[in-house]
Amino acid sequence: MSSTLSEATGPQESAARSLPRPGGKRWLPVCRADRVRSDRGVALLVHDHPVALFGLQSSVAGGEKQWFAVDHLDPVSGAPVIARGLVGSCGDVSTVSSPLHKQKYCLRTGSCIDSPDLKLRTHPVRIVGDWVEIQHVQPLETRSTH
């Protein structure tokens, strides 16, 4: 997938000021937490890489959402669609189903419940203040964003 990065929203300045080592793990703020509706994925770019982000409804009224991030590209077809899939649970496991052919993936581990040879890469997520941050590996070539 080719694209050009233009100005992205969010506090990128703090990320750039830390002068990361190439190959190190960084947290990238991606969007406001309230931009993400419960149980409905959004797609975002983590340095050119399409990622699907989910904030799952808490089982307790008013409780904290549970956050997951996995690759947005469907492992079977390569189409950028995982964020558009239905979330759910299978036993105790929280899941997302690929909208194309409904393969079910565990959101925590990325493994496919229907087909052991399919897997989605997972990405750690954390909430800082009002923002969702996703951990990523700093790419070897960084383009300056400010």
Binding site: M1, S2, S3, T4, L5, S6, E7, A8, T9, G10, V30, C31, R35, V36, R37, S38, D39, R40, V42, A43, L44, L45, P50, L56, Q57, D74, S77, A79, P80, V81, R84, G85, L86, V87, G88, S89, C90, G91, S94, T95, S97, P99, L100, K102, K104
Partner: protein, 823 residues
Amino acid sequence: MARRPLVVIGNGMVGQRFVEEFVRLGGCDAWDVTVIGEEPVAAYDRVALSSVFDGASLDDLNLCDAVGLESAGVEFRFGRRVVSIDRVAKAVTVDDGDLVPYEHLVVATGSYPFVPPVEGSTLPGCFVYRTLDDLDRIRAWAQGRKRGVVVGGGLLGLEAANALENLGLETHVVEMADRLMPQQLDRPSSSMLGRWIDELGVTCHFEFATQEIEGSDDGVTGLRQTSGEVLGCDMVVFSAGIRPRHQLAESAGLEIAPRGGIVVDDSLATSDPAISAIGEVACHRGMVYGLVGPGYRMADALVGRLTGDALSEFTGASLSTKLKLFGVEMASFGTGSEEDDLVVYSDPLSKVHRRLTLRDGAVVGGVLVGDVSGYAAFDAMADGSMKTPSNIAQLVLPEGLGAPDELEIPDSALICSCNNVSHGDVRTAVAAGCREIPSLKKDTAVGTGCGGCLPSVTKLLNASLETLGVEVDRSLCEHFGYTRQELFGLIHVHGYTTWAEVLGAHGSGRGCEICRPTVASILASMSNGHVLDGDQGSLQDTNDHSLANMQSNGTYSVVPRVPGGEITPDQLIAMGEIAQDFDLYTKITGGQRIDLLGAQLHELPLIWERVIAAGLESGHAYGKALRTVKSCVGSTWCRYGVQDSVEMAIRLELRYRGLRSPHKLKSGVSGCARECAEARSKDFGVIATDSGWNLYLGGNGGREPRHAELFATDLSDDELIVYLDRYLMFYIRTADRLERTSTWIEGLDGGIGYLRAVIIHDSLGICDELEADLARHVETYECEWTATLNAPERLEHFVEFVNAPDVNSTPVWIRERGQNVPA
């Protein structure tokens, strides 16, 4: 060794059964079989004859695989009548002059309908009710006629009355006795049956002795009673009994019973050992059976004897019957006399009457009207194969009030009398792996005759599965322990409007790709606002999710609504320009509209803005919802059209657009019988007649194509809409997830007949509610895309990457026939 000639006279249901079984058991190894049948068509299901008025075709009713049997060595001569039997020369003479020799002759000539010897019985407009030809003539005469009278209130008479009702006539039944079905029912049960029939608009006249049929060469005008009173009408159907067609045998000198029928012994042999007789023409131990079950038993017994089993015999058959007529279930079984004790349950409000006849504490017979639960058990008690329990008085109570769901019915008791299948046969089949009705039908032939036993078979199947420890779980999924119908009821009754409420009150876990879209659909059918609003947005399946159909490469299609398939040149141009501007692939769909493919998520609002500006709106191609109502050009343009099909199609499409349902809904309106809109392959199809619209229900294409069945004829515009409102809402309320209308109707106990009762006669008393629900849909309808474009919070969904709104995937395209397609 040369084969010996065997001739069968008659290719009715019993004659056909004989030939089939004979071939199956190898009879053609030693015999050369010739079948001579008077009707021009091969054997068909005469018991189901009335279904012709529900749209059944000759193919549907056909029982005879003539090609298959011919290849096994059977010769068929259809449309030929045997005129005499020469017992000395051992040959029969056919009406074409042919002489056919036999070494054994089987007479299966059946019955003829009895017509009372009154003056005027042959006037135009008088009919009998026996053959397909009779029904064709009845249907033709009924066109444009007002009132039909059936002479004879027995079983067949009531069937004929049902047929006339369905043809749209004001229907009357006249009966000489003081009640309906005088052979099977006593006065109280007959009177209860009468209450059901009253409700359906049929008027019954008792102790009516027809003296003369009045009329002229132009047609019948009425029936005059011996009292002098005249019942006016323009059609008469005689259904006053059947008489055995034993004339051939009589002329040949065979013994005939005093009240008719060829006398046969337990081996089905007549007074001439080279000739046997089976079916309605035979009289066995003084009985002539007018039911197909005993006829089949006779055929089987004769096949046994002729294929080498000398002990094969017929010793009589049960007269037990269970049937459904006009939506009412009835059963009668066993015997009874005046000295016997009676246990009776009778409720005129729910119109249920159940009577058991006891002798020395054992059930010997009975009659059930309106609720036939326990029939199989009672029948088994009456024929002695099951002991009568001591709480028998409690068992006469109807289902739910006392009759236990499953009495332990012995294996030997029959469950299907048409095909002689016992409870044991079904239990064995289930134990051997049959898990649903279709495989049981295949393995045991149960329910493949009249089909009346199927509800009992279902109960037996479930009970057997339970006994085997196989769970019968009809829950939607692991998160909801309910069927879709039950869940619909819960949501409807409690008035839930959010997923959180539904999941919280009745579900578990986080739901899944089964229950989330199911709840989404139910909420949408109850007019719950925009499908992307609130927590409904997290319930939407692949296409509804983005109000667009996702394609194999993750791009989407755009399908505006083109009601009735009618589009203006300006709209066509606008669609063309939109496709060019966005570089979209275009195609015309089977639903008579235009598909634009290759749009990306972020382009959808921009494209729809243009579409809406061109005067079009969402086509809901992305929803399990009403898709299109196709049309032919109709009376506006076509020289054959009799009604304005385009106008009606548009009207229907604009009324039901956006209605979400268990499966997609497709429709068509044709302007005449040539049916260019293919309405008969639709969930609801409308075909114009001179006086209105014929409505067909339950058709579909897809993997299992079905033809829609005729539901009602000559409807006015308003009637059509009322029935459709009710039909669609009833389907939405009660169907299973992803169940098409065809399967849903088939699964209703009583099929399309039951549907008529619910929709036309409001037998469940819910029509007001159904109409109100549909009215709410119409009142609150708003084009989903227009509503999306008007709300920034809805437009948020149409950004590909939320942290990079100006960046988008670039799908790879190749050119094919001048357009972009996925690489």
